[in-house]
């Protein structure tokens, strides 16, 4: 199944264009791609005519070009006919935006288009979906361009059964400075499903982390998916909904009662090296850190802080997350001490966490980070950075990122996220150190790195 035309189309037909309503989904999709992305877009409607002086073709087969991607946004009953036309015209991929299939009781209609597509070898996304968004390539979401928030181009691809959840997470990724490679809304996932996308994305150079929002799998589909994810070289993150439904069915064996649908899901996923995010915060944190660092850690965390309270909170969070915060050897402590400025040396408390106090300056953070970066006692450094400490400058992010690269160990920062500190935060993030807006979030990032190796 070749999905490249779906994600990197050179030619695209939008079917179901309205000649009079610019807010029609098909028109929105046409307008946002036409002349904005490197894709030639053709409008299609059986009635023909023109749209803002451009030709509306009655059928895909009448377009004078071979179409890479057909975006079908007609009424559901018309989709089989449109698909037949696409197949006849040699269209290479499609996304069916239209609703009114299995989700509305028309399983028959859905089965019909799946049978057609399968026989013709035409991969399609949907139906009942938003389709695909690829930065600087293509955008089939029928959301007006001025209302969308798009993250920067980056390493995360998010595949979602729900279009709404997908768009919401694009906002969250953008807020957190997490770049996306692709956003894919698969709707009823009648033909192209999680597993087919995994196969494509595992070889997609732009994608570093593959994230999924999953409501449920079909019969046996979960098994095939987790087994494929297990051998995927890229980290796979899943967020699941519908964890509580169907748990109350009367069952006659203890095992069936204890191994409920979600318990089985969680167990199967964890067993196959997939990282399950419990909620949206975890999902965003996991994706951010996994797109920064590819090597798993064992989970021995070194904490550098400018405040004792922050250090204590981080230790608690580590403990809850199953991460170790090992006591440092005397030798390491002495090494740190020797690197500190004189005034800080007298007041810093150098265990783990290493509390450099509010008197610390950039040099103290860097000196301490160098020692922890070189020490075999820890394999990941969490820096709790308080931007209001007078001795901390805007250079701290880039300087610590140099230490991280040199040591080969992942560094994770906590910085309160308010606009005032944006340049400082970007000093970390643009230089490759993920920065969380909460202590817990920073620890969750470390947990994601540790969980990658647990199976």
């Amino acid at each position: 199944m070749n999905l490249k035309p779906l994600f990197e189309p050179k030619t695209m037909a939008v079917i179901g264009i309205s000649a009079g309503n610019d807010r029609h989904p098909a028109n929105v999709i046409y307008a946002k791609n036409n002349h904005r992305y490197p894709v030639r877009v053709y409008a299609v409607n059986p009635r023909g005519g023109t749209l803002h002086n451009e030709t509306i073709y009655p059928r895909v087969s009448e377009i004078p070009a071979r179409i890479d991607l057909a975006v079908i946004a007609t009424r559901a009953e018309l989709v089989p006919d449109v698909m037949a036309d696409c197949i006849a015209a040699g269209v290479k991929s499609a996304t069916v935006i239209s609703g009114g299939f299995s989700e509305g009781g028309r399983v028959d209609l859905q089965d019909r288009i799946v049978d057609m597509a399968r026989e013709a070898g035409l991969p399609f996304i949907g139906p009942n979906c938003l389709g695909v968004y690829v930065p600087s390539r293509v955008d089939t979401f029928f959301l007006p361009i001025e209302r969308m928030i798009k993250p920067e181009a980056g390493g995360v691809t998010f595949v979602s059964q729900s279009g709404g959840i997908l768009v919401d997470h694009m906002i969250k990724f953008a807020q957190q400075g997490v770049g996306m490679a692709k956003a894919v809304s698969i709707g009823n996932k009648a033909f192209v499903r999680e597993k087919e996308l995994l196969a494509y994305l595992s070889h997609d150079p732009a994608t570093k982390v593959i994230a999924y929002y999953i409501e449920g799998f079909g019969e046996g589909e979960g098994r095939a998916f987790v087994q494929a994810a297990d051998v995927c070289a890229k980290p796979v993150v899943i967020m699941k909904s519908g964890k509580t439904a169907a748990g109350n069915r009367a069952v006659s064996s203890h095992t069936a009662s204890l191994a409920g649908d979600y318990a089985s899901f969680a167990a199967a996923v964890a067993q196959h090296n997939i990282i399950e995010a419990a909620n949206e915060n975890e999902l965003v944190s996991f994706c951010e850190v996994l797109s920064s660092y590819t090597r798993p850690i064992e989970g021995r965390i070194g904490i550098i802080t400018g405040s004792g309270g922050h250090g204590a909170m981080a230790v608690d969070a580590c403990s809850l997350a199953g991460l170790a915060v090992p006591e440092l050897s005397d030798r390491t402590k002495t090494e740190i001490q020797n690197g500190l400025s004189e005034s800080v040396r007298a007041i810093a408390s150098l265990g783990n966490p290493a509390d450099l106090t509010g008197s610390a300056v950039d040099d103290d953070f860097v000196a301490c980070a160098r020692v922890l970066g070189a020490s075999p006692e820890i394999d990941c450094v969490v820096v709790l950075l308080l931007p209001y400490i007078p001795g901390v400058s805007l250079d701290i992010g880039v300087r610590l990122s140099a230490v991280s690269r040199q040591s080969g160990k992942p560094f994770i920062a906590y910085v309160p996220h308010v606009e005032k500190y944006n340049m400082l935060i970007e000093g970390f993030e643009l230089n490759g150190i993920p920065a969380s807006s909460s202590i817990e979030g920073a620890v969750l990032m470390a947990k994601a790195l540790a969980r990658r190796s647990s199976c």
Binding site: G216, F217, G218, E219, G220, E221, G222, R223, V226, V251, S252, S253, H254, T255, A256, S257, L258, A259, D261, A263, S264, F265, A266, A267, A268, Q271, H272
Partner: protein, 225 residues
Amino acid sequence: MLNREIKAILEKSRKWGWVLEPDAQKILSLYGFKTPKFGVAATGGEAAVIAHKIGYPVVAKIVSPAVVHKSDVKGVVVGIKDDETLIRTLERLSGIDGFAGMLIAETVKGVELIIGAKNDFQFGPMVLLGMGGVGVEIYKDVSLRMAPLKPKDAEHMIGELAARKLLTGYRGSTPVHLNALTKTLVHFSKRIMELADVVESVDLNPVMCNAKSCIVADARIMLKK
């Protein structure tokens, strides 16, 4: 591959939707699991003969197609030491709905575990390990994996139990044979894959694990409809 004898038992059990305990034990022993010595009696005389052959103390259990959960109808009696108690027990059990005999089994000792399987809609056969006995759904101390298991998976499952210390020796108790438990789990997970088309769920509860081996002391096999 399912052998002919196992197939025949499963076929005959379809009318009840589950496999009666003596038949379930038979399947397990055909598969090579360790099971207690047992016999089924309809009369006091038969019961006594079986009990003498096995040796007291014995366990007595109701056999009835109408009773899936034996404990719920007081259908399990442990620690029977003499003919008199045995015969009295049979008289009482014969009054239970659907009475088809009384199973008399050897008493086995060990830590009570549950090893179970469930055919999950999304993920297919899943294997469960937990602290067993009647309290299994109260403590919910269980670990789950997709079948089939590799030995490493089985070891992780054991390690996940909150009560794992009871298995590795706690306050002077003898540790159970962990290798036997691992092997039992792996073997069970493979058999469950073979049975996936016909079996809905399985409870081996309790599985008695001691320093020497793991013995399946009771088994419930629910069939697909």
